[in-house]
């Protein structure tokens, strides 16, 4: 019985890991009523990065990309949502990224979409701190900027990791039995 459950689990894990998903940042939609950033560092300098100036706030941006990511992945469940300290954006987006929140949408063992938000105005238009800079793009002023970065993985890598996980579980199971009856 345990063997059957394990085989079923291994096959399901393989299907999940093999299942195609978003592989490039252009697979993700632009935020509604936004202007795509043409600033240096937001276009081609760093792989799989794009940024949008808009008046959309976190409460809208994150659910928007969760839905978009799930649609791209054709999976029956949404990606996992992880909240990170904003300063982590220097590691996962790029150095000197301006940030007020950073979230990661992840399909474990597949790929991750980081969403970095820079919100310097409240929804009512008041600035969050004194002398906030202007967010200008396409000749307009905006309240927020959302930067996306996708970390993708190669299918071959995923298969190797899957094989390693399954093999490790088999070895652990055998060794546990030996140690317990020792």
């Amino acid at each position: 019985m345990i063997r059957k459950i394990f085989i079923a689990f291994s096959l399901l894990l393989l299907i999940y890991m093999f299942w195609p998903t978003s592989s490039k940042i252009s697979d993700f939609k632009a935020l509604p009523n936004s202007a795509k950033s043409t600033l240096s560092g937001d276009t081609v300098q760093i792989p799989n990065v794009s940024a949008y100036f808009s008046n959309n706030f976190r409460e809208f941006v994150i659910p928007f990309y969760i839905k978009n990511y799930q649609q791209n992945s054709h999976l029956p469940f949404p990606p996992l949502r992880l909240n990170h300290p904003p300063e982590y954006s220097w590691e996962v987006i790029k150095k000197h990224t301006e940030t007020t929140y950073l979230e990661e949408l992840v399909y474990p063992l597949k790929n991750s979409l980081y969403v970095n938000g820079y919100e310097i105005f409240r929804p009512d238009g008041t600035p969050i701190f004194y002398s906030v800079p202007k967010l200008e793009e396409a000749g307009e002023e905006w309240s927020t900027k959302a930067t996306l970065r996708l970390y993708n993985s190669n299918i071959l890598i995923r298969i190797i990791v899957w094989a390693g996980i399954v093999y490790s579980i088999i070895l652990i199971s055998k060794l546990s039995r030996k140690i317990i009856i020792e």
Binding site: L80, P85, S153, L175, S176, K178, I179
Partner: protein
């Protein structure tokens, strides 16, 4: 040179080198030999010495054919599996989750191999009672020296080497400031406290092995170590030490000695010390949320403290060059305090110590585990510390790596547990000490990354290796053997 003679030379060389290491690892301050880019963990002389010992040991087990027996042992298999999963986790972290850089991941991976390898080395080399007696002597003298040096730092301004931040870890020679805590040669008071906790556990069982005169010396050394442990004011290690000593007395079947232990515990609790103050703060500030909190000097500061970067100005008009919006040292309030934090300095330190764990380190490890539950995000992905070894393990090597690590401990525990039923007093008490040391380490691991703290982690595996050797004693020294050095003789 013939093979038996060469194995004998190698075996003797390993014995003397290990004796040297037993003193060198705890005593040599953490002076960096060379730094690794991207991290302030440095390679030190002791790493090279352990590598040298490991290289000689590999040659020794190869030519003595001991590796054939060794590789059949379950502990060895558990080590091999743990390292395999560690490598798989590194592979996944580099190519799948993109969460580490190769050289840092490998550095952390090899550090774990370095510490753990000391177990089979010691188990293979300390094959006689005479050798174990030498080892015990060196370890006790080292403990005495560590304690004396800690007192020197506390009261005589002896130099301090610390690795508590990136600047100190360059090998700066410092002095203890009035409220700072002694770290002796351990570069961090937490590491010293863990070392003393292990020492107290073993002293509590060695006390029953030795004869009368030595009992007094062991008792004195125990009292000295306890005093230095109190100076470190490390709450978790203090609790872990007492849990360890109590379990050692249980395993050694010396329950009547629990009464003096409880009397000592109550006395330490009653005596005014930084340790006692911190325990009180833990209850009043962290658990009961009591005590006066800083409210901020004005509305601006209260609002600014809610920003991601609290130093950003909220409203420029109320700022003045003369009146800082933050507290000043002259007001008797810490300069970097923010609204909501306790005003009292001890309370503040205790509060921050817990809040850093609760809001930064532990969630980071939990996120890492969620992102790859099987293999974690790889060694080095969580930075230098998580301050909870179980969460760190889950975050770095996932459920598979963590489970295998506990398999290692379980297989060692099962072997040593047989020792507490042995007729030989020394084997019985030593085994009681080792099992209690494992418990002490696990309790420490709830709030400190003990299995990654180089000096104490090395000593942990050394002591377990010695215990496995004790279970396998033979006289006179025999280079070739019939059973695994990691298993007791039938």
């Amino acid at each position: 040179m013939n093979i038996p003679k060469l194995t004998s030379i190698l075996n003797n060389s390993l014995f003397y080198l290990l004796l040297f290491l037993f003193a060198f690892i705890p005593l040599y301050p953490k002076f960096p030999l060379f730094n690794i880019p991207g991290v302030f963990v440095a390679v030190r002389i002791e790493d090279l010495l352990i590598a040298l010992v490991a290289a000689i040991w590999l040659i020794f087990i190869w030519i003595s054919k001991e590796w054939v027996i060794l590789t059949k042992d379950n502990i060895f298999k558990a080590f091999a599996l743990f390292f395999f999963i560690g490598l798989l986790s590194l592979f996944s972290a580099i190519f799948l989750t993109h969460t580490i850089v190769l050289h840092l991941g490998l550095l952390h991976f090899f550090r774990r191999i370095e510490f753990i390898l000391l177990l089979p080395i010691c188990a293979t080399v300390f094959t006689t009672k005479k050798r174990l007696t030498f080892a015990t002597g060196v370890l006790l003298l080292t403990l005495l020296t560590v304690n004396i040096y800690a007192l020197g730092q506390q009261y005589l301004d002896w130099p301090v080497i610390s690795t508590t931040n990136s600047e100190f870890s360059k090998g700066l020679i410092l002095k203890l400031t009035p409220d700072a805590r002694a770290n002796s040669t351990f570069a961090g008071h937490y590491d010293l406290a863990v070392y003393l906790a292990i020492a107290l556990v073993f002293l509590s069982v060695i006390f029953f092995i030795v004869k009368k005169f030595w009992k007094i010396l062991i008792l004195a050394l125990g009292g000295f170590s306890l005093f230095v442990l109190i100076l470190t004011a490390a709450r978790v290690s203090f609790v872990a030490a007492f849990v360890g000593v109590i379990s050692a007395l249980f395993f050694a079947k010396k329950k009547k000695y629990l009464i003096p232990i409880f009397i000592i515990l109550i006395s330490v609790g009653a005596y005014p010390s930084q340790l006692r103050d911190r325990f009180v703060s833990t209850i009043t500030v962290n658990l009961l949320n009591l005590g006066q909190r800083y409210e901020g000097r004005n509305l601006n500061q209260q609002l600014e403290s809610k920003l991601n970067i609290p130093t950003l100005p909220y409203k420029m008009a109320s700022r003045s060059a003369l009146v800082s919006p933050f507290a000043s040292a002259t007001a008797g309030i810490p300069v970097d305090i923010t609204p909501g934090e306790p005003i009292n300095e001890v309370d503040l330190a205790v509060y921050r110590s817990f809040q850093i764990r609760l809001n930064i380190e532990w969630p980071r490890a939990a996120n890492a585990f969620l992102k790859n539950p099987f293999l974690g995000l790889g060694y080095s992905s969580l930075g230098i510390a998580t301050d909870n070894d179980f969460l760190r393990s889950l975050g770095e090597v996932g459920i598979l790596g963590t489970f295998t690590f506990f398999l290692i401990l379980l297989s060692i525990w099962k072997k040593i547990f047989k020792g507490i039923k042995n007729e030989n007093r020394m084997i019985r008490f030593f085994s009681a000490g080792s099992l209690s040391m494992i418990i002490t380490f696990l309790v420490n691991g709830l709030f400190i990354d003990v299995f990654e703290a180089s000096k104490v982690a090395s000593l942990f595996w050394i002591m377990l290796g010695l215990n496995l050797a004790v279970l396998n004693f033979r006289e006179p020294i025999s280079i070739t053997r019939n059973g695994s050095p990691l298993s007791p003789r039938p």
